[in-house]
Amino acid sequence: MSSKESSRRVFLKHGATLAAMTAAGIKAASGQGFGEDPKLRTDYVPEDRVPKDHVWRDPWTGEMMRDEEGNLVVDWTGTPQWERYRKNAQEMGKKYGTLEVDSRLYGVRSRYVKTFRRGLDGGSAFGYSGTPTAPSSNKTYFFSLLSPMDSQLGVITPSGLHFADEHAEVPEIDPREHRLTIFGMVDRPITLTMDELMDMPSVSRIHTLECNTNGVTGGLRNLPWATAGHAFGEGSCSEWTGVLMSTLLDAVGVKKEAKWFYASAGDEYNQTWAIPVWKAMDDAMIAYGQNGEPLRPEQGFPIRLLCPGFQGTTNIKRIRRIKFTDDLTLFHRMYEEVRPSGKVTWFRLEMPPQSCILRPSGGQQLTRRGFHEIRGVAWSGAGKITRVEVTVDGGKTWKDAVIQGPVNSKAHTRFAYPWTWNGQDAIIASRCTDEKGSTQPSTAEAANSRDLDLATFKTRNLSRNNIAQPWRIGRDGKVINAIFSV
């Protein structure tokens, strides 16, 4: 077909389209190429030519998905059309047409970004905390999928990198079938559908979620090669969207005598916790959203309990039932801790203040002398971070770092401290103070507070160990773990 013929046909068709649109009383779009017969566009594939196995399917009906205009929703990856486009684009130059997958429906990271969750519970499946099952190449035993905090940039952990401790296989729960039942010491026991829950007044808040064994499992935080991701891999921060428990208390009319609620999952293991009612009246919520989209399955899709500042296991994923009561019991994972004196401390709830310098941090490499911004995050289960101090001389002197707002309560808070590296050995560390006045302890203070001598403290993997995390920078610029040096 000659170009003249072709443009003539375009003209004729264009004219016909215009005439039709005018007849229908529709104003034609100005300019060329848009608002015309789609068949004239170079990218358009008519429906009969769309490879049907590349069309997304409705999860319930199995029907091919269409958008509001009636267009098929297609992932073109691997289709002849996609490969032809790529080939043509590659002819424009090496850096074009490099996308192997069609990421337009749901985006992907740059091929140069390869941060990944470390751990045993991950890979092709999620296994069991304490008894990992899915294949893994990890030699050191630690049961979680650890968030790579060492490479985290802001305060929000990407949902796909959020840490995960699973206690059974992760089920795919159909949100249309799932219910939330609230009963026990209430005036109006209720069972809610997910739609009804989403009709209720909602909030969206930024909160940190942290396991009480953060850095403890496998003694990871004590290993010489530990990065910030190993030391604090069981802590992540997200924007959580959902219904406050206090709203649900209004809906059911909780009785005055109720002191506890049992929150129970609906999955293969039904993880359950007893939580004080005051937390429900304060800031606990039933979350259905994380970072702007529905929860991911390993974060509890379709709904989870969120108890901001409380240890990770209280944040029941796939929550199905809540029972109000005045009678406390202990469920699995409501651990005790025994002290050398024989004294037993039973389950704890809130997490202590913690902070970590992320850059420079373990495993990283300084490449030059001169200016570096020391930066990291601080958080506390007790509330807002009010102060962060940084030492660059192994704890001899501490200076205030700049806290970067907005400062959210019980959430990762960014801090920064300008520093000039002179090329000598240095130990840097941070410590934070929260709004209740708690400050992170030194190693000696922490050992003392737990009735332990220093040697025992260093060899035992203790939960909620919130000593300052130091990093040693060698003359070669290599940054390594310097735990217990501050």
């Binding site: 039904n270 997490m351 203040p353």
Partner: protein
């Protein structure tokens, strides 16, 4: 419902009487969410509603929910075994009973693949990728201590301060993959079996809602006498010192 409740009590009674017989039909037909004022009040008790295992409109009470037209009365299935998960006082314990002898058979069928035929625990084979493993549950001989010498076995029965801890875990969280499917008699029997396997009760001791809460657990004295310590975090020292709860 909010609108209805504001009308005269005579009208309310009339509506109740008129619709009482039709409740089952009404509920079965109810597929669309009810708008404000469209809900029908019923004096039918919650127990009756549960026995029908059908969703019901929430009963009206002196205080209305601010969120009208929302939700249904929970069925028995909705509440599941959490309904009889009970605190240390055993208040919500269900009817039923069991013994270790009866529990042994149930254990063999429902639990031993993960916890071992003799409750000694199951560990996985290399490269088996097997989900069938679980901790030792029997043969405990000492409460948890800081430095545990070899031979001292601390099972759940030896660390739990109350027998309810074992009962509740079995009722709600076990067996893995079919959690919450055991019947009250089975839960009593399995609880008795675990207690017996740790030498805490005898093989023929009957466990029921009267006897179970009174079983004396080896680690009972370490638990706080009152749950008040959890009612105010500042009392526990969690906010002082280094933010670490320093014990009770």
């Amino acid at each position: 419902m909010a609108k209805l409740s504001m009308r005269s009590s005579v009208f309310k009674t009339l509506v109740t009487v008129l619709f009482l017989g039709a409740v089952v039909v009404f509920v079965a037909a109810r597929t669309e969410p009810q708008g404000p004022g469209s809900a029908i009040e019923s004096t039918q008790s919650q127990t009756e509603a549960q026995s029908q295992n059908q969703p019901q409109q929430p009963e009206a009470s002196s205080h209305e929910s601010p969120y009208s037209g929302m939700g249904t009365v929970p069925t028995k299935e909705d509440m599941g075994n959490l309904a009889f998960a009970a605190g240390f006082k055993g208040k919500d314990l269900p009817e039923g009973s069991g013994t270790a002898k009866l529990g042994a058979d149930i254990f063999a069928g429902r639990c031993s693949m993960c916890h071992g035929p003799n409750a000694e625990g199951v560990h996985w084979d290399p490269m088996a990728f097997s989900p069938l493993h679980g901790p030792r549950l029997g043969g405990g001989n000492g409460v948890p201590i800081f430095n545990r010498p070899p031979g001292r076995i601390t099972t759940l029965a030896y660390s739990a301060p109350s027998p309810m801890v074992i009962f509740d875990a079995i009722a709600v969280e076990m067996p893995m993959f079919k959690a919450g499917t055991l019947k009250p008699d089975q839960v009593y029997s399995l609880t008795a079996f675990i207690l017996f396997k740790n030498g805490i009760i005898k093989e023929d001791d009957v466990m029921n809602r009267e006897t179970l809460p009174n079983v004396q657990m080896p680690n009972r004295n370490t638990f706080p006498a009152s749950d008040d310590v959890y009612m105010d975090m500042s009392k526990r020292g969690c906010y002082q010192n280094y933010g670490v709860c320093l014990g009770d």
